[in-house]
């Protein structure tokens, strides 16, 4: 998989490594911790264990127990501690073991992290990152598969990010650590190890709030983020073989999201298919759909269409039926193209 990288991304690197997404995340943290003493990393099992997915492997060994440590089993403690450290001048990276377990830390996220800058008139700020694996496809049932990004996207004061490539994962995470705002960094766990990509060693960031155009095309725009992206690209390639030219936009940042890139694309193609895996009702793509039809009403050749998860808790055995796969996307694309 190749990515059309942002032009303005400043890359000043030494070597290039072939990494999968989780390795790129590990590298981003390692580099940021080497660069900035204020960066500390903690969560459940992130120390000796290296995280249940091994995202933090080797980091305690390199940076010691003062900077990389396990916490008691409490997401409220983890997020709360991150807020308090950030307020006192550190740059904490807090891992929540699964996005499904953000619940006990929810009030800390929405009432403290998201609002402390605003409520204090900018006197106190919470520059922290909450990293957490999210999404389905790993036979985890409804407590290891959910995609809760809409909750956080609907909470002013938070930035919300989800990479879909190793290159972006590294660059976005570095940008998140350096951001002066709290960032919820969702990691699409089903593609943690799906493929490798060339990732530069050393310093570059992928700016928060900018989408990437992964394929250029003229007939249809597919917008997605996170774990659905590889399938979206497959669909684009399959349609290309049939002579349909699909533009694929990877949002990467959910808040703020890149209205300009999406609107430019749909203005050109006239058709938008929005792909995500969270339950359909009141998911984040509803916002994108709303914006597209509001801004491009006259340019649209067909209604904005969604392929998403269903309005059920995430089921264990029906995992494959639940998740939007290439077939479902193709069907929706065909409907749009034939509208």
């Amino acid at each position: 998989m190749t990515a059309l990288q942002d032009k303005e991304t400043a890359v000043s690197t030494s070597a290039t490594l072939s990494l999968n997404l989780i390795q790129a995340i590990n590298l981003a943290m390692r580099e940021e911790m080497r660069l900035d003493e204020r960066v500390v990393l903690f969560g459940e099992d992130v120390g000796a264990r290296g995280g249940v997915f091994l995202a933090t492997e080797g980091l305690q060994a390199e940076f010691g127990r003062r900077r990389v440590f396990d916490t008691p089993l409490s997401e409220a403690s983890i997020v709360g501690a991150a807020v308090g450290m950030a307020v006192r001048g550190l740059r904490p990276i807090a891992e929540i073991q699964f996005a499904d377990y953000m619940g006990p830390g929810f009030d800390q996220i929405v009432s403290q992290a998201a609002k402390i800058r605003y409520r204090s008139g900018g006197q106190f700020t919470a520059p922290l990152v909450i990293r957490t694996p999210s999404g389905g496809g790993v036979r985890g049932g409804h407590h290891h598969s959910q995609s809760p990004e809409a909750y956080y996207a609907h909470t002013p004061g938070l930035k919300v990010v989800m990479p879909s490539t190793p290159y972006d994962a590294k660059g976005l995470l570095k940008a998140a650590v350096r951001s002066d705002d709290p960032v919820i960094f969702f990691e699409p766990k089903r593609i943690y190890r799906a493929f490798k990509e060339d990732v530069p060693e050393g310093d570059y960031v992928v700016e928060l709030g900018r989408a990437a155009v992964r394929r250029e095309g003229a007939d249809l725009t597919i917008v997605g983020y996170g774990g659905v992206m590889p399938d979206a690209l497959k669909v684009a390639d399959a349609l290309k073989a049939e002579g349909v030219s699909v533009e694929v936009v990877d949002l990467r940042s959910i808040v703020p999201w890149d209205r300009e890139t999406v609107l430019n694309s749909v203005a050109k193609t006239g058709r938008a298919l929005l792909v995500s895996e969270a339950p359909r009702t009141a998911n984040f793509m509803g916002e994108v759909a709303y914006t597209i039809q509001e801004e491009l009403f006259d340019a649209l050749l067909a209604p904005v269409s969604q392929v998403a998860g269903f309005d059920t808790p995430y089921p264990y055995a029906q995992d494959k039926v639940y998740l939007p796969g290439p077939n479902r996307m193709l069907r929706a694309a065909a409907k749009l193209l034939g509208y």
Partner: protein
Amino acid sequence: MHKPFTDKPIQRIGEDGRKIGRWTLDLTEDQLRTMHRDMVRARVFDEKLVTILRQGKTSFYAQSSGMEGTQVGLAHAVRPGHDWIWPYYRDQGLAIGLGVSVRDLLAQCLGTSEDLCRARQMPHHFGVRNYNFVSISSSIANQVAPATGTAMAQQYLGTDEITVCTFGDGATSEGDWHAGLNMAGVAKAPIMFVCENNQWAISVDFKGQTASTNIAVKAHAYGMPGYYVDGNDVLAVHSVVSEVAERMRAGEGPALVECLTYRIGSHSNADADAEKQYRSREEVELWRSRDPITRFERFLAAEGLSVDAAAIRAAAQREVEDAITATEATGTPGWDVMFEDVYEDVPAHIALQREYVRAEQEA
């Protein structure tokens, strides 16, 4: 009467199987044999499940090996199908001890058509209505406040039921754990909180979890007694739990019981290779040598009660094998169960989604 807040764990028998202190056995030979058999069945269940996991028949499993003293001791001290249980995900020994059939457990692990939970939860997250064994949530400690609610309902309804809520040592750090115990204290609800302290929460040891001397002392915070029990001593667990349960039925309010035990297996299959990074083999071996089943067998022998351990194991193995065959034969549920039980009925928007998938499946 057992004393709360002891410095050392309450014990009834030593590692050598001999009685500690003076007490009289209030269990029949039959009860003792059943207890023993259930412990073996739980152990064998673990072994078999690890095997079929390797075969790819199920995708998740968390052993309770080493914790049978706690789980079976507890199970035999409550009234199955009368009392209510809000368990956690490592409670197969508790389920077996209560009388839940191995087949029901396996149906859930394999997600077959007779899975009472309809293949919607991860394997190993049981729920059995007949036994008031409430469906397990993966989210650590979030059964605690609901368990208190169930006990409050029992109190409101004027029943003599009690509620038992189990959880690990790690769970005690969650805010919801506190919320549940504190409310139970205020309500004087008939609930027993049982901590299966196996000394690790995945890779985090007890000292990394809390600075308190043990879990039992945390009961001070809720105005309830806290019992510190040797969880590898099935008779100690049984005795403390029985006594506390009866007091609870008489309206004496909640209690916290900590059973100190150890998980000798890996946290779950997902953790199997990682273990060596966080705990020493010596520690594991030490606790293996403190096996609750062996200890109980020594006691039975000392009491002159012979058990044919090999035969019991063999029977338990057959029981699991037969259950696997039988439940596999029932097949697996269709895709459409996915759209049921979200609500009592299927509302229009979900019905539309079901039709959408139906068209897809039929194409």
